[in-house]
Each structure stands twice: as C-alpha cells, then as structure tokens.
Amino acid sequence: MEVLAQIFAVFFLIVGTLLSLIGVIGFIRLPDVYTRLHATGKVSVFGVVFLLASAILLTPLSLWKGLLLIFFVLMASPSVSHSVASAAYKAGLPMKDPARNDLKGKLERDSGRGV
C-alpha cells in the first residue's frame, strides 16, 4: 500500500510539473495578453492541484490542509483569471487576429456598472 501510494505520488509529481512547464512555455511564446492568461490559468489549476495530491499521498499529517488548499486554489484561480482579463479588456489592450469580438460596443453601453 505504501509503495502504491509512492508510485501514484511520483506520477502526480511528474504530470503536474509537465503541465506547469507547458503553461510557462505558453506564457512566453503566445502572442497577446489574453492567450498568455489562458496559458497561466492552466498552471495554477493543474500544476498546483497535482502537486497537492502528491503531498496528500506522501505526508501523513496534511490531509485536511491539502484538501483545503485544493478547494481554495480551485475557487481562486478562475476568478483571478476573470478579473485580470476584464482589466485588460477595459484598459483597451488589443487582441491579435480575433475571430470575433462579442464584447464590442457592449462595454460602452454598460459603463458605470462594471463588467
């Protein structure tokens, strides 16, 4: 049972690190702010949650702390991405080759109430 937990922990460590690496490479290589934000959202959801699953399997003391931190990361990361993307759109940063822009003209109509 111990060995099985360690095998799963090593698997989670490697998978989480590879997903974080993909996110950071996307953060460097992608063209504009919105796609870079898309890449870093993957880091804080998948990378940290897999590392925390490995920590729950490997350390005997930190089950509830790990579950609390997984819950908090899963709650916090999408709202951080949403607020930063909203701030970027309100600051008027351009998209690179957008297929379409559903918010065009909508922000001026709703101004004053926030997006």
């Binding site: 360690q6 460590l13 690190t17 974080s20 804080s44 609390l68």
Partner: protein, 91 residues
Amino acid sequence: MTGFLDIVLWSVLGVHLLMALVAAWRTWRGDNSIERLIGLDLASTMTLAVLVLVSIIQQNSIFMDVAIALAALSYLSTVVLAKFVSDHKVF
C-alpha cells in the same frame, strides 16, 4: 524506491524554481502592466508550488499553513491590483 522519490522531488523543485525565475523575468521585462501582473501572479503560484514541495521534502506540514496564507494573500493582491490598473481606483 525512496532514492528514486528523492531524485524526482529535488528535480521537480529545481524545475519549479526555474519557472519562478522565468516568471520574475517576465515581470521585470513585460510589454505592459497587465502582462507584468500576470507574471506576478505566476510567480506567486510558483512560490506556492515550491512551498508544497518543501513540505513534502521536510515531512513537515507547517509549510502547508504558510502556503494557505500565501494563496489567500496573492489572490487578494492580484484582484485588487487588476481593478486598480483598469479603473484607477480600488473601491
């Protein structure tokens, strides 16, 4: 098995420190303020991952408490800074 686990843990820690360095570089030399904000958020996420890895290596769950506090503080600071950059006011 434990030798292999130690090797995996230390190499994963090194990769995460390298990614934190990349995020700090993007925060220093970003194209605009929103991109620097994304770099700051990524750096704090990497610090969270490093704290979790140190907690595994030391077999000591007090680093997990530090990680919870860091997650709460970085969440608040990123949301407030994003609102300040876009609206030029916080509340």
